[in-house]
Symmetry: C2
Subunit: 119 residues, 2 copies
DNA sequence: CATATCACTTGCTTATTGCAAGTGATAAAA
DNA sequence: TTTTATCACTTGCAATAAGCAAGTGATATG
């Protein structure tokens, strides 16, 4: 399910940019990926990020990220079962994208900086 | 207006990724940047892209891209005045971002390809 | 027994998107 | 001269998504 061609993949066009934006093109999804690349794994950790994502949107995005193959769920305790989110290879491979975006952003939003090290 | 710190720049947080997504985080904006990097300049050229952007959204995004300093308007005829859109340095400097995104996308959306050469 | 934590879900209001049609300036064709 | 066409949009409206506050169920802790 992680790396197959489906109808979804070519929703709008055969352009890799368009395909990527079909899955990542909003104000929140890449921030969750950023957090995952920074080592965050749990719901509360994502919620604690300074952008203050709403709980319903976080839940929705995690669901979509999982069904798009960017993350998988991994239980870290029983009673009750609680899961953390782990990047797949598809998700991990976004690191260079975030890196160049950070490089660009630090130039054009002077004073901005990443919490920890995506870079 | 192109490279100043404003309130807008830190809408959600001081993270360069969040700042970038405040201006670029949707399904259409980066596709217009892609087209501009590919050499497209005019309204009708953007409309002709395979993703079929709606006219109201294109007009809205071009307006926002201009006020965010990614593009500027340049008249190419009088009677009636018609303008084309030219990337600023801020816009041009997104090329590496698009390049790594394309590299990533060609792996994870096999069969996808860019119309011309962003890469 | 009361309070707290975690990972959500639900309800509701507001904002954004997508689609079709229309507009105004001008040129070219019938 | 009336019609048709092009270009760069704008307008209206229905559908979808976002944002906010509150609630839920399982469990642990005081």
């Amino acid at each position: 399910m992680t790396n197959n061609i489906t109808r979804q993949d070519f929703e709008r066009s055969f352009c890799p940019v368009a395909c990527a934006l079909d899955e990542l093109g909003d104000k929140w999804t890449l921030l969750i990926i950023r957090d995952l690349l920074l080592g965050k794994k749990r719901y509360q950790e994502f919620l604690a990020s300074p952008e203050r994502i709403a709980t319903n949107i976080l839940a929705d995005r995690l669901k979509k990220l999982e069904s798009a193959g960017f993350v998988r769920q991994q239980p870290y305790q029983q009673k009750p079962v609680r899961c953390q989110y782990i990047l797949t290879q598809k998700g991990k491979d976004l690191r260079p994208v975030l890196q160049v975006l950070v490089t660009w952003g630090k130039i054009y939003y002077p004073g901005s900086r990443v919490l920890d090290a995506v870079e």
